[in-house]
Amino acid sequence: MLRATETGDARPLDPSTLGDHVDRLFRAAWALCGTREDAEDLVQETFARVLAKPRLLRGDDDLGYLLRVLRNTFVSRHRARERRPRAAIVPEDAELADPVAGRRPEEAVLAREVFAHIAALPDAFRDALVAVDVAGLSYDEASELLGVKVATITSRLFRARAQVAAGMDPERAGVLKEQQ
C-alpha cells in the first residue's frame, strides 16, 4: 500500500492514536519549559489545539506534526508570558508530590536538573537537542522540523550536549555511572 507521503494525499489525523505520543511530547515540553508543571500545561494545551478541529496531514509523521504544534504553542505562550507580570512561583519541592518521583527521588532530581539546563540553553541549541535527543527524531526529521540543514543540526547538537554537561554538577557523572 502506498503511504500518504508517496501519493501526496492528505490523510486525517486519528485522534485515538494521540495518546501514543504523550511521553515523548511531555519530555520535549519539559525540556522546553524547564519545569514539570509548565510541561504538563503545555502538552495539554497542545492536544487541545490539535483536537479543536479535524486535522489533515501530508505524510505519516504524526510525531513531527505534534512537535511542531508543541513548539509553536510554547513560543506563543512564552511571548504572552513575557508581556505580563509573573503571578506565582511553584516551589521546586512540589515535584515530590509525584508518586514516581517520591519513590526514586535521586532519579527525579537528575531529570529535573538536566531538563532545566536544556531549557536554559540558547534557543537554537535547545531546539536541536530537544528534537533529536529528547523527542528521538532523526537528524533528517529534525532538519525538516526546524528548517535548517542537517549539518547545522549536527553542530548545534554537539554544542548543546557540551553545554548541558558543563552546566551540571561534576558529581552527576558519578551518579550517572552508578545508575547505569
Partner: protein, 224 residues
C-alpha cells in the same frame, strides 16, 4: 558556525552531555493524571463532533438527510462495517490512557466491563492490570485493559461492544467448557479470540507467551 569537536575534551564533554540527557529521558514519563486529562479532552472533542454532525442532519430536513445518507454511503462505505480482529489487536499497541481498574464486586473480576462482560482480575496469577483505554472502531465502542505478564511483557485484553465480529480464519481452535478460543499469530504477538456474553474478546501478549497459556488465561473466568 561549523560543527564537530574542537578538542578531545570538548568531545568528551559532549558525550557526557548526551549520556546525561539520555538518562533523564529514560527516567521520565508523562504523569498518569496528564494522560487522563488528555483522554477526557479527546472524549469531549469526539462527542462535540458527533453532536455537530447530528445537528447538521436535523437542520437540513428530510431531503438533506436523505442526501447526506446517500453521500455517506458512497463516500464512507467502510464506516458502518464492523472492525476487523486485526484492527482490534492493534489497539493493544497503544499506550494506556487511564488508570488500571480496581477489583470488582465479583471475585476474580475488575471494576470494568463492556456489555456486562467484566474484565478478569489476574493479580493472583501474577498478571496485574497496569492501565486501560477506551476507543471507538468503526462506530463500535471498545475497552482495553493492559496487564503486565510475569516476565514484564504487556498483554492487552479488548472487549468489543455490539454483536460479535466475523471470526478470523486460520490459527488453531481450543475448546474449553464449550467455548472456542482461536489462537493466532499477528505482528509478533500471540493472539486469542473468542466470544463471551455475545461480545468479541481479544487477548494478545508477546510471542514468548505460548498459545495454550494465553488460552488458559482467557478461559480462566469461564472455569471459576
Amino acid at each position: 558556525m561549523t560543527g564537530g569537536p574542537d578538542s578531545p575534551r570538548d568531545e568528551a564533554r559532549a558525550e557526557q552531555g548526551r549520556a546525561l540527557v539520555a538518562a533523564a529521558v529514560a527516567r521520565s514519563q508523562a504523569p498518569l493524571a496528564l494522560r487522563e486529562r488528555i483522554e477526557a479532552d479527546r472524549e469531549r472533542a469526539r462527542r462535540a463532533r458527533r453532536r455537530r454532525r447530528g445537528l447538521g442532519v436535523l437542520a437540513g430536513g428530510l431531503a438533506a438527510a436523505l442526501a447526506a445518507t446517500a453521500v455517506a454511503l458512497i463516500a464512507a462505505p467502510s464506516g458502518d462495517e464492523a472492525p476487523t480482529v486485526r484492527a482490534v489487536v492493534r489497539l493493544g499497541d497503544r499506550a494506556a490512557a487511564q488508570r488500571a481498574p480496581g477489583p470488582g464486586s465479583r471475585p476474580g473480576t475488575l471494576r470494568a466491563s463492556v456489555g456486562g462482560v467484566a474484565f478478569p482480575d489476574w493479580d493472583t496469577r501474577y498478571w496485574p492490570a497496569t492501565g486501560a483505554r477506551a476507543d471507538e472502531l468503526s462506530n463500535r465502542a471498545t475497552r482495553t485493559v493492559f496487564y503486565s505478564t510475569r516476565d514484564g511483557g504487556r498483554a492487552a485484553y479488548t472487549i468489543v461492544d455490539g454483536v460479535p465480529l466475523d471470526s478470523p480464519g486460520g490459527g488453531r481452535v481450543h475448546t474449553v467448557d464449550g467455548v472456542d478460543y482461536r489462537v493466532l499469530r499477528n505482528r509478533g504477538r500471540t493472539v486469542v479470540v473468542w466470544q463471551e456474553g455475545g461480545h468479541t474478546c481479544v487477548l494478545s501478549a508477546p510471542a514468548g507467551v505460548p498459545g495454550d497459556v494465553l488460552v488458559d488465561f482467557a478461559s480462566w473466568d469461564a472455569r471459576s
